[in-house]
C-alpha cells in the first residue's frame, strides 16, 4: 500500500506491540477474530483504524458497511474498510444532508436525498477520505480504505476486533484522526491479544 502519510521509520520507535494473555481467536463462526487494544499515551484510544498485511488471511464474511446520518452526525465517526468496499450512506436524519468528499481519497458528492433513502459509495482506492456535509459544519467522518481485508476500528474503550486473521507474522499499520499512519510488525497467535500504542 502506498499511502503518503505512512511514516515507516517512526514505527519501530513509537509502537509497542505486546502479546497479552486473553484468548479470543476463533470466536466468530467461519473466521478467526483477533482481539486487541489501542492506546495513546497509555490511555484507551477510540476511532483508531488498525490493519494487518503480509500473511494470507482466512475467509472474511462480507458485511453490510453503513455510514449513517443521524441526529446531525455521521455514525460511526471513523470507518476502516478494505479497498473495493461498497459503503451504504443512508439519510436517517430529520433533514436533508449533502454528503461529500473533495479533499483526499475517494472524491464524491452525493447531493441531496430524502430521509429514509440511501446512496452508496465504493471506495476503490486506498487512502483516507474525509466526509463532510456542506450544510452542517459539525458533521464530519473519516473512511480509511486499506489494501487488506484484515481491518478493525477501536471502540470507546480502545478495544479492537479484526476478523479473518490466522496465526502468523504480520505487518501492521494504524491511523487515528489527527495523526499520521504508523507501522510495525506483530505476531498473531491463538489466545493472544494484540496491542497497538502511540506514545
Amino acid at each position: 500500500m502506498s499511502l503518503p502519510l505512512v511514516v515507516r521509520a517512526q514505527a519501530a520507535a513509537v509502537v509497542a506491540v505486546a502479546l497479552l494473555g486473553t484468548a479470543h481467536a476463533g470466536k466468530a463462526a467461519g473466521a478467526d477474530v483477533v482481539n486487541g487494544r489501542v492506546r495513546l499515551a497509555g490511555a484507551p484510544q477510540k476511532d483508531a483504524v488498525v490493519w494487518l498485511s503480509g500473511t494470507p488471511s482466512g475467509p472474511v464474511v462480507p458485511r453490510r458497511i453503513v455510514l449513517d446520518q443521524r441526529n446531525m452526525a455521521f455514525l460511526p465517526h471513523v470507518l476502516g474498510v478494505p479497498v473495493g468496499t461498497r459503503v451504504e450512506m443512508p439519510n436517517n436524519d430529520r433533514v436533508f444532508h449533502n454528503v461529500f468528499s473533495f479533499k483526499d481519497g475517494k472524491r464524491f458528492d452525493l447531493g441531496l436525498y430524502p430521509v429514509g433513502t440511501s446512496k452508496f459509495v465504493t471506495f476503490d482506492q486506498p487512502g483516507l477520505s474525509r466526509i463532510f456535509c456542506n450544510i452542517h459544519p459539525t458533521m464530519a467522518a473519516y473512511v480509511m480504505a486499506v489494501d487488506s481485508s484484515l481491518v478493525g476500528v477501536s471502540d470507546a474503550d480502545g478495544k479492537l476486533e479484526i476478523a479473518g486473521a490466522r496465526p502468523g507474522r504480520y505487518e501492521y499499520h494504524a491511523w487515528r484522526p489527527g495523526a499520521e499512519i504508523i507501522s510495525g510488525s506483530l505476531t498473531v497467535s491463538a489466545g493472544r491479544e494484540i496491542e497497538v500504542a502511540w506514545p
Binding site: R94, D109, G116, T117, H136, P137
Partner: protein, 334 residues
Amino acid sequence: MNRLGVSCLLVACLAGPARAQSVAIEGTHSAGVSTEEVGALGTQVRVSGEAGETLRGLRYQIEASWGWRSEEEEGDFFGTAYPYGGKLDLMETYAEYPRDRGWVRSVKAGRYRTPFGISSASDHAYIGFMRAPLIRYGEYYALSNTYLEHGADVVIGVPRFTVEASLSKPADVGEAIRRDGVTGVFRAQAAVGSFVIGSSYIDTTPYLPDTFATGRSRFGGVDVRWMSGGVMLRGEWIGGRPFDGTSTTGGYADVIVHRPAMGPVTAFGRIERLAYDSIPPFDLYTHRYTGGARVRVWRTISVSAGLVHQAGQQTQAKRTALDVGITGSWRRNF
C-alpha cells in the same frame, strides 16, 4: 422556558440508558455587520438525541435561541431563520417517533417549524445567505421562517414520496406573531433522481391585528431542489392571501456552488420577487438579487459575505448593501 420545554426535557431524562452518541449538544454563534449600519449577534443551543431502551426509537430536540440586532425598524439583515429581538426564545422543542417500515414514516408532537415548503432551519441559516427570502421574512405579508407550531405532525408514504399533515396552534417568535387559532398544513414531496419536488398548503390565522386583517391566511406553494456535482439549485414559489382583500405572490431561486477546485469556498446567489396586492400605498412590489461566498476559515468557523441589491419598492434601508458575518459551531456527544 415554558411547560412544553420542561416536558420534553423530562422525556429526555426519563428515556433510560442511552446508546453511544445518543445525546448531542450543539451550539452555533454568529456575528455580523451590514453597510445598512446594522450589527447583529446570535447564538443557538440545541440538545437532540434518541431515547434509550424504554422509549426505543423516540427522538427529541430542544432548541433555544438568543439574537440581537442593533436596528429593529428597518431591514431584514441576519433574519434567516431565527429571531433577533434581544431575548431568549424557545425554538423547536419536540419529540418524534420515526419509522423505517410501514406507511407511517414519522409522528411528531411539540413545538416545531411550520412544515410549509423549504422550511428547516438548516435550509436557511448559516449556508451563506444572511437574509431570509422576501417571501419568508415575517413583515412582508407572506410567510415567516420564525413561524412555529404547537401541535402534531404526521408523515406517511414511502421515502421517495411522502405526504405530511400538521394540525396546530401558532406559537411564533420574532417579528410576525400570528393570532391565536387553528393552523393546518398539508405537504406532498416526491424525489425523482436528483430532483426533490414539493407542494404545500397552509390555512392559518393572520399575523396582523383583527381590526385590520380579517379572515384567514391561506397560501399554496411549490418548491424544487436539485443537486449534482457540488451544484445545488433550489427555489420556492408561493401564492395566496395574507388576509381578506389582499394577495401575495412571490418566490426565489438559489444557486449554491461548492466544486472541488473551490476548496473551502462556497459561492451562492439568489434572485427573488415579492408582490403584495393591496390598497395603495400599502401594496409592495419588489425584486432582490444576492451574490456572495462563504469561506470555511478554520474547522467549523466560516465567514460569509453577500452583496444584496434591491429593485422595485424598497424594504431595506439602503438599496444596495454588503453583509458580512462570521459563524462558529461546536458539538459534544454523550
